[in-house]
Amino acid sequence: MSELTATHFLTLSAALFIIGMLGVLIRRNVLVIFMCIELMFNAVNVSFIGFAWEQHSLVGQTFALFIIAVAAAEAVVGLGIIMALSRRLDTVDIDQVHELRE
């Protein structure tokens, strides 16, 4: 059985980050896009904690805590915007949101 190394953390984090990124680019449902962005945030948390674990320092873990807090704040504002818009337009499909064009 091989030991746990920083590479494991980083591979997991990179995989999550790329899945999230692809989701943002491909999916059309606003809520799913937002969930994918949250996934990217948490992928970053994993890599911060992986690096902190490798370096035996607390800095990365502290950073991860702050990221969690900021992601929560962002979710409040973002979901508020999505709620208000879906009430007006009756849809959460990003392709249906196209009032603004030159």
Partner: protein, 497 residues
């Protein structure tokens, strides 16, 4: 390991504390005052911003002290950012004073909340300017952006405002994720998040023979892309025109300046102060971004009929010019004009761009729209407003002796000093292209007959704001010497650490 508690030096963060107090006061006023007296809070906000600006005098910036374990730095760079956002904040509050309670938007916009969000975003930007750690840069940028997402959708009954807010929010959050991933890799590669320590640990890496590690280059790329979104550099600009067009006009004015200042301050802190030793790896990237951004912004702006959207594209163009300043970085020496020219550009941009959006706001409070047709014959209706708009347009174009000319001149000077002749030529060419769409507004105001309904409406504070900005645009260029000297002290700020 025992935890050492260091007493923070509260004296260094007085401007931020005053602003925080003002926010608390505005929110308390929202609760305590009856609705019709909310107008008084505009004055509270203005007084708080002015006090916060004045309190900069109490700090000894030359010492370049840092506090909160190096998280917060009080140096000349943070002083200049404080000045820019303080001035931009006062002007934004002035032009919002008539519009927000004016009832031109469907549904009402509560003034106290508007002011509180605006001040929070200003506070966040000041923190970015003073950041001494990647964590502070992240928190400051987020504090600034999240408040602006909410402000963009502040006209919550209007679909276009919400659409602008949604796009701004989704792409902004996406960019943040990329930015912090870059921070994670920087931390992984250097073992620290303090900006000064990153620079110290990178120096031997660069001078060594092994070349730069791929992980560091990945970090650099992610950071540049994340911040590129925040400053609306092409190809990360997709949200900009929609957000500017959709947002209530005073918000467009605000977000064309202050969040951009936050992005550029973060770029200077991260790229120059922390990743300065890697400059060979990022200078070309920034120079190419600058070129693409200014060409795209100015060329697409030509096709716009909606003045807010046109100003949105024009602000992309200006991002390109400001990036030229950053691309001219050659090293921490007193002759290096790169970051100094960038800072001066940001200050002058605050005057002329908030001014241009201010005139649009002025028209809207009089019942007109935001397209070119609404500017028809403005000169016969209100000569003063037409003169102000002419000054702002000519300044954005870069006409001497207005401040826009000096801003571009210093950027070009920096580029020439750094042997980036091609970029300097591009700035001049693009200014010529931009003359087309800026002068079109002027022509429409002076040579067309007025059309549409017009209601007479007194807006003293908005008028005063416009007059101040016109005056600033006229005078700041002529007095640019001392201001530029102050901006130039960034070398000292980044060098001390």
């Amino acid at each position: 390991m025992p935890v050492e508690l260091v007493r923070p030096e509260w004296g260094l963060i007085v401007p931020e504390l005053i602003l925080l107090g003002t926010i608390a006061l505005v929110l308390a006023g929202d609760l305590a005052l009856p609705r019709r007296q909310h107008g008084v809070l505009t004055w509270v906000a203005l007084a708080g911003l002015a006090l916060s600006l004045l309190s900069n005098l109490t700090i000894d910036w030359a010492a370049g002290r840092s506090t909160f374990n190096g998280m917060f730095q009080a140096d000349y760079f943070s002083l200049f950012i404080n000045l820019v956002v303080g001035v931009a904040g006062i002007l934004s509050v002035m032009i919002a004073s008539a519009y927000v309670p004016g009832g031109d938007e469907p549904g009402d916009m509560p003034l106290p909340e508007y002011l509180a969000l605006l001040l929070l975003s200003i506070l966040g930007t000041m923190l970015v300017g003073a950041a001494g750690d990647l964590l502070m840069i992240f928190l400051g940028i987020e504090m600034g952006s999240i408040a602006v997402y909410a402000l963009t959708g502040f006209a919550r009954r209007r679909v276009t405002a919400l659409e602008g807010a949604l796009k701004y929010f989704l792409l902004g959050a996406f960019a943040t994720a990329i930015l912090i991933y870059g921070m994670a890799w920087t931390y992984g590669a250097t073992g620290t998040t303090a900006l000064a320590d990153i620079a110290v640990r990178l120096r031997p890496v660069v001078t060594g023979s092994g070349g730069v590690e791929p992980s560091l280059l990945l970090a650099l790329l992610l950071l540049a892309v994340g911040l590129g979104f925040k400053i609306a550099a092409v190809p990360f600009h997709m949200w900009t025109p929609d957000a500017y067009q959709g947002a209530p006009t005073p918000v467009s004015a605000y977000m064309s300046v202050v969040p951009k200042v936050a992005g550029f301050a973060a770029m200077a802190r991260v790229l120059v102060e922390a990743l300065g030793p890697l400059s060979d790896s990022w200078l070309t990237l920034i120079a190419v971004l600058a070129l693409v951004t200014m060409v795209y912004g100015n060329v697409v702006a030509i096709a716009q009929r909606d003045v807010k959207r046109m100003l949105g594209y024009s602000s992309i163009g200006h991002t390109g010019y400001i990036l030229v300043g950053l691309a001219a970085f050659s090293g921490l020496s007193p002759d290096d004009r790169s970051v100094g020219s960038m800072l001066f550009y940001l200050l002058s941009y605050a005057f002329m761009n908030i001014g241009a959006f201010g005139v649009v706001t002025w028209l809207q409070t009089r019942g007109l729209g935001v397209t070119l047709d609404d500017f028809r014959g403005l000169a016969t209706r209100s000569p003063l407003a037409a003169i102000a708009m002419t000054i702002f347009m000519l300044s954005l174009m870069g006409m001497p002796p207005l401040v826009g000319f000096y801003a571009k001149y210093y950027v070009i000077l920096a580029a020439v000093q750094a042997d980036l002749i091609w970029l300097a030529v591009a700035v001049v060419l693009m200014s010529a292209v931009s003359a087309f769409f800026y002068l079109r507004v002027v022509a429409v105001m002076y040579f067309n007959e007025p059309s549409g309904e017009w209601k007479v409406q007194p807006t003293p504070l908005l008028g005063t704001g416009l007059a101040l900005m016109a005056l600033g645009t006229l005078m700041l260029g002529l007095l640019s010497g001392p201001v530029l000297d102050l901006a130039q002290k960034w070398v000292q700020a980044f060098g001390v650490a």
